[in-house]
Symmetry: C4
Subunit: 379 residues, 4 copies
Amino acid sequence: MGAPSFKEIRRAYGFDEVAIAPGQVTVNPDMTSTRMKVADHAFDIPIMASSMDAVVSPAFASLMHRKGGLGVLNLEGIYTRYDDPHTTLEEIASAPQAEVTALLQRIYAESIREELVGSCVETIRKSGAACAVAVTPQNTKRLSPVAVEAGADIVVVQSTVTTARHLSRSYEGLIFSKFVKQVKAPVIVGNCAGYSTALELMETGISGLLVGVGPGAACTTREVVGVGVPQVTATLDCAAAREEHFKRTGRYVTIITDGGIRTGGDLCKAIVAGADGVMLGTPLAQAREAPGGGFNWGMATPHPDLPRGTRISVGVKGPLKEILHGPTSLTDGTQNLVGALKAAMGMCGAMNIRELQKAEMIIAPSIKTEGKIFQLSRN
Amino acid sequence: MGAPSFKEIRRAYGFDEVAIAPGQVTVNPDMTSTRMKVADHAFDIPIMASSMDAVVSPAFASLMHRKGGLGVLNLEGIYTRYDDPHTTLEEIASAPQAEVTALLQRIYAESIREELVGSCVETIRKSGAACAVAVTPQNTKRLSPVAVEAGADIVVVQSTVTTARHLSRSYEGLIFSKFVKQVKAPVIVGNCAGYSTALELMETGISGLLVGVGPGAACTTREVVGVGVPQVTATLDCAAAREEHFKRTGRYVTIITDGGIRTGGDLCKAIVAGADGVMLGTPLAQAREAPGGGFNWGMATPHPDLPRGTRISVGVKGPLKEILHGPTSLTDGTQNLVGALKAAMGMCGAMNIRELQKAEMIIAPSIKTEGKIFQLSRN
Amino acid sequence: MGAPSFKEIRRAYGFDEVAIAPGQVTVNPDMTSTRMKVADHAFDIPIMASSMDAVVSPAFASLMHRKGGLGVLNLEGIYTRYDDPHTTLEEIASAPQAEVTALLQRIYAESIREELVGSCVETIRKSGAACAVAVTPQNTKRLSPVAVEAGADIVVVQSTVTTARHLSRSYEGLIFSKFVKQVKAPVIVGNCAGYSTALELMETGISGLLVGVGPGAACTTREVVGVGVPQVTATLDCAAAREEHFKRTGRYVTIITDGGIRTGGDLCKAIVAGADGVMLGTPLAQAREAPGGGFNWGMATPHPDLPRGTRISVGVKGPLKEILHGPTSLTDGTQNLVGALKAAMGMCGAMNIRELQKAEMIIAPSIKTEGKIFQLSRN
Amino acid sequence: MGAPSFKEIRRAYGFDEVAIAPGQVTVNPDMTSTRMKVADHAFDIPIMASSMDAVVSPAFASLMHRKGGLGVLNLEGIYTRYDDPHTTLEEIASAPQAEVTALLQRIYAESIREELVGSCVETIRKSGAACAVAVTPQNTKRLSPVAVEAGADIVVVQSTVTTARHLSRSYEGLIFSKFVKQVKAPVIVGNCAGYSTALELMETGISGLLVGVGPGAACTTREVVGVGVPQVTATLDCAAAREEHFKRTGRYVTIITDGGIRTGGDLCKAIVAGADGVMLGTPLAQAREAPGGGFNWGMATPHPDLPRGTRISVGVKGPLKEILHGPTSLTDGTQNLVGALKAAMGMCGAMNIRELQKAEMIIAPSIKTEGKIFQLSRN
């Protein structure tokens, strides 16, 4: 074994490997603000609900709005393919695990109906909520005008990996710089990891960027195709791009860490890594009001010949209100996420999200005291 | 993924990741001294019992004194809220695990009674023991005069994260530099992690500093809010601040590593990382005389809307005397902690705590030979 | 512990410790080519089947060819020792685990028959498939002429560790530079790890190099003798040698990562680490058509006095077609390996294998979200 | 958290974290020599049996000699305290695990009888074997003359940590430079870790050095008192001291890695880290002829008030001959240790131990392919 190597490889970090160090000043949590902005839209809490069918139905999007956040509706899922999505959801929830991926493949082979796109958007808007919709790049030109026409406030263009330059034989590539000018709503794009890609996407004029390739609990992209970037490093890199873009242009692009967040602790770490907000899938799929009925699955699960993810059982933890705002008697970090965020802000002396981004982060592998010498009884 | 990152993150270490290297000189353990000082108070062993209700009752504080150490009584716990704390402790010990956090929330909602503060302190003092009491910053101005009036020797101002500067809307912040001059007892402050914060706190005139944010076995702060610093790094950093402060002022502030210590090995590592002493919770909650009855829970457990920790079952290991001084037939490091400390001092050629702080420490992940090839039978 | 150390040790990485970062450009998978060349032989997919008796029989070699890849027949295994290999394979499959290594030792003590070497090669050639055969250095001079005479297209000279210089008392060492000129077929040599050894082997005129010492699932070389190099580092090093050799001579030697690949993700990582192709054992032993009948064992398993590996139960996953090309409903990465490769190429913007080698790789320990907070039900 | 830290801590490595990289030349194992020398005594294999009562009885020492190695008899164990050691050994083997440490404490409280020291040595010498005996520093002046008088060839002065300078109140410290001149046998000293300590001990004129503090399977020193150095780093450091001492004086001190070696792979790694030989406890306690009857315990286990280790069940693997020289059908690395060593030498192109010390070592965490995707059936 000798000197030269074929390429350099650098270390990347996930939530489990880091912790937040307390600050030199502390503040009372009741003095902190958790406000997040996407273009001109402001939200009381920096939390979006994932564009997954088990998480965001039109009704859940309205509920998220009432709790201060934003639900993103998947325009290529069950709600725009089936007149009666509830029956389909029940079918998924009751399928045996061994057969469920094949079932999902069949269910998502049904075609998307534009009239359902329109009516879903209208349902959300009628409730008084802001409406955000997600489309894949392939379908953006077709579906996003329908949604915006029906009243959608924010368009999310989302696939496993999205870059500013895509080569395709079968359809003319989506040119973000053109699309952003044409569509009458702010555009969030994702998912992305990496400084240069993030910078290039920001230069097209987007308002927000979803960060995260392969980290979600319901996603096996990294196992199946080897591609994936741990979320702390992905967020650090994209946040660096945001700062650079802001310095160059004065335009602030919202960074949203999407995937892999399971607890209040992870959420706080995402912010300290530089995010302005987070997108949550499984933690919200655990809400009593979530349409998945105790299950969750990702957008790549029903892929016809290479599914990357499966239906996972996430259980039902409690009402969305308690998951987001508490109070709670659970001590595993899965409830009162906003309370946890405010507590972390207090310990770091941060009055707002922008200040929490300046807190110190350390590399500190997860604690595993339990089961070592003390037997923790939690039954 | 590109060059610039949003921030630097440095590696931090916990007890499981380090070991002590033997010295170039060895001494017989019987020649070593384990003395610790806090201001003018000297203790034969460098061990404090945590200000947790399951660890230190007034009676246990007296016992700690007789064994050479110091017990710290929590002035905001069961002993100052209830006339009959034993009934309350039994209620906690017999509650089902699923309901215990909610029960703790209710129990700690009862108000603190100043006359009980006074009588607790007097009980400890009458036994001939030194009396140390713990208060949170919010209640320091109200409760500490009552305690000192009743005879308390040392005041510990303690919360999850304490800094020299705290911003609050609801109460006027505690100014340590003023408080230290007013109160007629040496002041220990905590908890803290980080060189600059430690230095700033020392400059206010305190006598001791509790090191440790989020590492205890009964604490889930790091899981719930993401904040936490592994103890070896936290101690190294605060010890560096103590040296700097000593160099500048000639005043030696006692560094006490608080939380995460489970064995004699951990205790020794804390000293080698720079501590002058340690504060133990769960290892002493396992004493036959501890009031928790085989359980332990932290000060953040009964938080009304964001509990960070739960009741853990720690079992009853033996009398406090054996845990501290042996002899023992146990080989898991949980008994004869002082014997272990003296053995380590012998192997490192250290005559006293200050010399043991100079021993070499290495990064060495825990040994897991067991269950690999040899099946260790310990049943 | 002091300053000077006896030697430097550098960090090496395996598949579980790295991930691929997406590119700045993406392409549609249907635009990518997965072509691999060995000398003048081209293959549609960069996958060889291992020269293990449980993987490649003459029939399986033909099948591999039809699916776009290349099967390598072990010339020192059951097929050239027994007239009726199927009976022997069944004997192995039905032996109790405690006795199987001793049984394998007995079975492989039978002598190799040259007429069976010839007839195996002819069977493969008659099917229209390219024929690759594997021999150990000791038997190369004796067996390879027989095989080439019978029509073998590629000769693989393979042992646990092969170098350009071997010292032996019992037989005259094989001199690769001479052998390569004499034999009328391109030569692949292995296994190898390390830049200098790889470079020295390439200078002898070989056409391909097998990379991997001790990483296979059916191999315990690293446990038994301590020797082993994690595959990512081994591949990076040998790929660096290939580039250097190409720069010096203009001759491109095919690098094949052999061993330790379990999923599509691992396969993709091998390419990003610099491989031109991979050799798979256990993943193909799981094919319905594989001769091992749900088991696998390595070439070092039947060693008469120091077996290094044992028979492992790998199960039967499905037809070879699905393992290689899908479609699949499995989401653990073990099926549709070529689909996974094309998906990774798409995410990295790579039109061919050579471009995928230029993708970015990061150090990222495996994700273990499962069983942490969410209980994944996969039963 | 700020800039200055209290002390530097450097990374240390154990067997599980490293692997040996193959060499650029390979040799046939039958051409290699595994010879080890201690002063003028030469041994065919570089393996000593530990001075543990469950490993070396006088009869086992004779057997070790016949198999090419050296058994070291503990002069402060059961064989020199009891007329009928077999009864005592059986008592230990049949005690329930919960009571065995207390039993060991009682058994080793019996006094050492000098006439038994003499007769043990004579028994070994009469069998024609070289006789090595182990004493602790406290008892060296009293027991070693008795043993040497009776014919002991090598004296091993051994305790958990031994340095050239020891301070004691209760007995006059052993001065090695004096002792080495007085005693009529070569002296091996240990255990030791660290360059400076090793160098200082070598300067006293010793012939061999035992390396290893706290790594053995039957030792919990690192857990109980926090002191311990992973074996690869400990060996690298002491080997560096040996080279330095040799350069300065021309005298070659034998480095013996003692503790933590479980497999042939570990043994080979110890040599590559710089050892001239190894001392084995548990792997030889597993021999059918070992006196422990399937159990093992360390010298620190019976400590009267701070036992550091316990009786572990190691099982009976086979006759010593198979453990050392094979042949074997086991593939877990616990049998044919010398065959494994010769295989590693072959892969590294090393003709003798001194050449194997020059092989390359890499940092490579243990492989855990098993139980990931393939279910290995080994029942």
